[in-house]
């Protein structure tokens, strides 16, 4: 599904990502972990197109998307969430989803209908996602007025509503309590069941170990380990890099 070849990103003298090779197969939940500053968020920004690459390639379903603009990549099937929530605060929950809804199947509706028409067929789709995210009761609420947990759910919903093939989650569990993390876990599993491929950046080790199929570990922009959760947990290099992260129970 996703392949990174020799991916590099330099900010002046800083090598945020350095010659990264990665393969994510379709339908798996792939975790990307590493200490702070190891380049995880930068990888997400490179894959979704917010930063131009310094070197290397990003391949989606074996097609080179490295030079495509962000919004075009969304049309190709890659969406993402943001670490610090970036919702459209002055728009309602419903509108936040409506705006992001650019699913390929709706394109056949024609330009005028899609842009100048009312909700129409889109309504069912959005309502379904609202239910999935437990936000049905808040559809007309301004996104900026939501509670933190609700905003996180909306952030995820917005990434899902565009019917992506690959979903990039940038620290979705940050700031969540245990109950919310369990719900997030359940949602990710459900998305996987529906056929999505997920690239998960996370610091929360319990979640990562529980929900991912494979993990890669970054440090200083380079991959230092890759494998199943068990393999990675027992890897000495990883333990050294993290220094003091307790092994998941």
């Amino acid at each position: 599904m996703l392949e990174l070849k020799g991916l590099s990103k330099h900010f002046g003298g800083v090598r945020a990502v350095d010659g990264l090779d990665l393969r994510v197969t379709q339908g798996e939940v792939f975790g990307l972990i590493g200490p702070n500053g190891s380049g995880k968020s930068t990888v997400v920004n490179l894959v979704c197109g917010l930063f131009p690459v310094t070197a290397g390639q990003v391949l989606l379903r074996n097609e080179d998307i490295t030079s495509l603009a962000s919004h075009v990549r969304v049309a190709c099937g890659v969406t993402r969430t943001f670490q610090n929530i970036r919702l459209f605060g002055q728009l309602s929950v419903w509108q936040n989803l409506w705006v992001a809804q650019n699913a390929v199947e709706h394109r056949s509706e024609g330009f005028l209908r899609r842009w100048l028409g009312g909700p129409g067929r889109a309504r069912e789709e959005i309502d379904r996602i609202l239910e999935f995210s437990d936000l049905s009761g808040k559809r007309d609420e301004l996104a900026g007025n939501l509670a933190f947990g609700e905003q996180r759910r909306l952030e995820l919903a917005r990434a899902v509503v565009a019917k992506p093939a690959l979903l990039l989650l940038d620290e979705p569990a940050a700031g969540m309590n245990a109950e919310e993390i369990d719900q997030l876990d359940a949602r990710i599993r459900k998305l996987k069941q529906d056929g999505l491929t997920v690239l998960l950046i996370e610091h929360h080790m319990e979640l990562v170990m529980a929900v991912t199929d494979r993990i890669a570990v970054l440090n200083f922009g380079q991959k230092i380990a890759e494998g199943t959760p068990d393999e990675v947990q027992t890897n000495r290099l990883v333990q050294e890099a993290y220094l003091g992260v307790a092994e998941a129970a």
Binding site: L50, H71, T79, F88, L91, Q95, W115, G117
Partner: protein
């Protein structure tokens, strides 16, 4: 009575100007170029009716089109220039347009008289309305027909996906891009639509005022153009309309007994308004409140109402 009709005409034309800025402001671009597009519309329409003998309808249509094309051309380089630099760039563009017309001389002899734009002196004798026997009331209705059309179109756009997309771009371009929106296309489109509306307004303005000159289309007008939507609030087209009524009414009529002090109070009033209601007269919270009131009045005990609470 004629006086109030005249006031209503001014309000109508300025509403068009304000709405052209509204469009562009929604996408987060602060454009001081709307007065420039307005000027282009005015001169083009006037030249078409006076020098080429066109009827006013195709003339303002053409004026609108030309202004739209120019706006589209401005929209692209405007993308390279973000935030407050855009304010300066559009200000400079507007001034450049004004200076162009200041130096623009295109006179044609009709009999013994020379007609046409005459540089610093402006363009006189734009007499389509009187020549065709339009009364003040006729002109007024003509103006407000277009105001109504434009407002209806923008109102519809606001309720459609396009409206939400415009606002999303205005709020957070990065998030919008990542949600699949072609931000470039949206911003240029908004600028173009703004240009079309401003050109329309300018074309109408030239004919009801019968004499246009460069000084009318300067920084002051450009500032008024964005002042209306900002003061009225960007959440609804009606905000702009109310702001125009308030500003023009206030300046010209309302507090007439204050005489010269009106202008003084005007600046002070803007300061007060922005401190007390930074999001404008009609903001998102107001609209949400109005919606809740309407739902509550119509269907008490509706499950939706409880959800919205």
């Amino acid at each position: 009575m004629d006086f109030y009709l005249g006031l209503a005409q001014i309000v109508g034309v300025h509403t068009l100007l304000g709405l052209s800025a509204y469009c562009v402001l929604l996408t987060g671009q602060v454009s001081l170029a709307q007065a420039g597009f307005f000027a282009i519309g005015a001169y083009v329409a006037a030249m078409l009716t006076v020098l080429a003998g066109w009827h006013i309808l195709p003339a303002i249509a053409a004026a609108s089109f030309v202004a739209g094309v120019v706006a589209c051309a401005v929209g692209f380089p405007a993308l390279r220039v973000k935030g407050l630099m855009l304010v300066v760039a559009t200000l400079a563009f507007g001034e450049a347009v004004r200076l162009f017309f200041f130096n623009f001389d295109y006179q044609v002899a009709r009999g013994e008289v020379k007609i046409g734009p005459a540089g610093g002196e402006g363009f006189r004798q734009i007499r389509f309305f009187p020549e065709h026997g339009w009364s003040t009331l006729d002109v007024l209705l003509f103006i407000w027909l277009f105001v109504a059309l434009v407002m209806a179109a923008l109102w519809w756009m606001d309720r459609s996906r396009a409206g939400a997309v415009l606002r999303a771009v205005g709020e957070d371009e990065v998030a919008a891009q990542s949600a699949g929106i072609n931000v470039t296309a949206v911003k240029v489109a908004a600028m173009t639509v703004g240009g079309l509306i401003a050109g329309l307004g300018g074309g109408i303005f030239a004919h009801y005022t019968a004499h246009i000159e460069h000084a009318q289309f300067g920084v002051a007008l450009a500032t008024f153009a964005i002042a209306y939507p900002i003061l009225g609030g960007l959440s609804s087209v009606f905000g702009t309309l109310i702001a125009v009524i308030f500003v023009q009414g206030f300046l010209i009529e309302g507090l007439r007994f204050l005489g010269d002090w009106r202008n003084l109070l005007f600046g002070g009033l803007i300061l007060l308004a922005m401190n007390v209601r930074p999001r404008g007269l009609i903001d998102a919270a107001t609209i949400a409140g109005i919606k809740r009131l309407r739902i509550r009045n119509r269907e008490p005990g509706n499950a939706r109402t409880q959800g919205a609470e």
